[in-house]
Amino acid sequence: MSASDTLAPDPAAASQPAGSGAVPMLSVRGVKTFYGNIMALKGVDVDVYQGEIVTLIGSNGAGKSTLMMTIFGQPRAREGAVIYEGRDITKVPTHEIAQLRIAQSPEGRRIFPRMTVFENLQMGAAVDGFAHFDDDLRKVFDLFPRLKERINQRGGTLSGGEQQMLAIGRALMSRPRLLMLDEPSLGLAPLIVKLIFDAIRELNRSEGLTVFLVEQNAFHALKLAHRGYVLVNGAVTLSGSGHELLERPEVRAAYLEGGKH
């Protein structure tokens, strides 16, 4: 992290919320990921503590989604380590990582297009063994009543916003301890973005759900998050609390000016 400009000697410790413990829930250490010979992540360090909302902002092609997928081993990190709840998961098969209760609403939403809304949610509940299916379904429908109206409709026929709600709902059905969201606001109307961000805040506040959020919409994401990281060309260049990052001139210049919508 020699190139990174941190705001405190230990940025994670400085701004982590009180009572969250010293050991991060998710710790990404010096991860390098390649597509062929191209290095997409150049040694990334990120920590997420229990009960936090952490956001990763950066422009197109900075490697945000690559980091999200690398945590799941798709693709695998060629160097470095991913530690989750004290366990090195760098080489663990993808489906076993999901069984550790990390859920992801991935880039592009990846709804199963020829399955109904209900079946998509059932797919989410697979790792939980359907033990809490009815309760969780009610919670998801309370959060996104629109999904209830569309319950028997095929995923591929939903609008973009509805698909986003379904992707988040599907992730929640697995009762995650860590929820990873990749650009939940992408291509959505401002009203729906607000709805989704309110839902994330509410889940974090009422259930203590830990959230790792990737966003291009830096203004909303930094306002929502406890802490943030800025990713540029596959490397973390800045980190700090959400408010601190919002005040930084280079963040304002690069990600906020003209983008405050």
Binding site: F72, Q74, T94, A98, P113, A126, V127
Partner: protein, 305 residues
């Protein structure tokens, strides 16, 4: 009219067998995008498993009830054929996953040649007959000596096909195994992110496809009374044609395509020329690929994402 009814019965019987094999093609294609050229030979292997099992039951163990024997043969053939196909997938296809797209297909062609030759060497190159079973027929019409008959074995074939397809449909549509299977078919990476073991699900697909092919194998053996090492190829390609005609990747399409190919073949033999029946069936493959590559019930390529 009477000839028509008779051929309709024969065509539906043959079509049931093709449909059962076609499901194996279409499921494997759906989940890993590979045309499993060895599937016809897996079907052929199942006829030999059924033959050996049937002869053991009737001669060594001495079971006299033909229906009991058939039921046991069916279960045994399904089990061992499924096991064979599971092993084939592990040995010949899984190591090539992530390789270029053609690699597993070439491996499947090799596996097809291997299976046919293995059976030829171990079982001999001649037709292996079994004593005729279930020879009773029901006379439906008698028109000046031309009898329209419905054989009991035809009833058995159509009824067991319908029952097994029903069970299979339930498995795919209503159980979590089937849901995982469909999820992998639509987005393998996402399925893995949701905790689905993709490799296991692909294995399961091969197991199910082989079990249905084994049902077809038992029916084929009962219907024709012989097993032959080269009998995987032509029924296999016809079942593949059925899968393409119905729309590859579509399960109802495979069944519909199977029935249509069976009917086309039988009617062509009855009204035109029996020598050219295979030409008729394979022309359908060419015509479908040229004019309707998505098949009858296939889905269009474009999808909203």
């Amino acid at each position: 009219m009477d000839i028509f009814v008779q051929q309709l019965i024969n065509g539906l019987t043959l079509g049931s067998i093709y449909g059962l094999i076609a499901i194996g093609y279409t499921m494997v294609f759906g989940i890993i995008g590979m045309v499993n050229f060895a599937h016809g030979d897996v079907f052929m292997v199942s006829t030999f498993i059924a033959l050996i099992c049937f002869l053991l039951l009737t001669t060594v163990i001495g079971i006299t009830s033909i229906f009991l024997a058939l039921a046991i043969v069916l279960v045994v053939a399904m089990f061992f054929t499924a096991l064979t196909n599971w092993a084939i997938e592990r040995v010949a296809y899984r190591p090539l996953r992530g390789s270029f797209r053609l690699a597993p297909m070439i491996s499947a062609i090799g596996m097809s040649i291997f299976l046919a030759n293995f059976v030829q060497v171990s079982q001999g190159p001649r037709n292996k007959p079994i004593p005729p079973m279930v020879t009773d027929v029901i006379v439906l019409m008698d028109n000046n000596g031309y009898q329209v008959t419905l054989a009991w074995k035809q009833i058995i074939i159509m009824v067991s096909t319908a029952v097994l397809l029903g069970a299979f449909w339930y498995l795919v549509q209503k159980t979590s195994l089937g849901r995982a299977q469909r999820a992998c078919e639509q987005d393998r990476k996402m399925a893995a992110l949701l905790g689905i073991n993709v490799d296991q699900t692909i294995s399961l697909t091969f197991v199910i496809g082989a079990a249905l092919a084994a049902v077809a194998g038992v029916m084929y053996l009962m219907y024709y009374g012989v097993a032959h090492f080269a009998d995987g190829f032509v029924p296999g390609v016809k079942a593949f044609t059925a899968a393409v005609l119905g729309g590859i990747g579509s399960l109802p399409g495979a069944v519909l395509g199977g029935l249509l190919i069976g009917l086309i073949e039988v009617f062509w033999s009855a009204y035109f020329s029996i020598e050219y029946k295979d030409v008729a069936a394979f022309s359908i493959l060419a015509i479908t690929l040229i004019f309707m590559p998505q098949g009858l019930l296939g889905r269009p390529e474009v999808e909203k994402v």
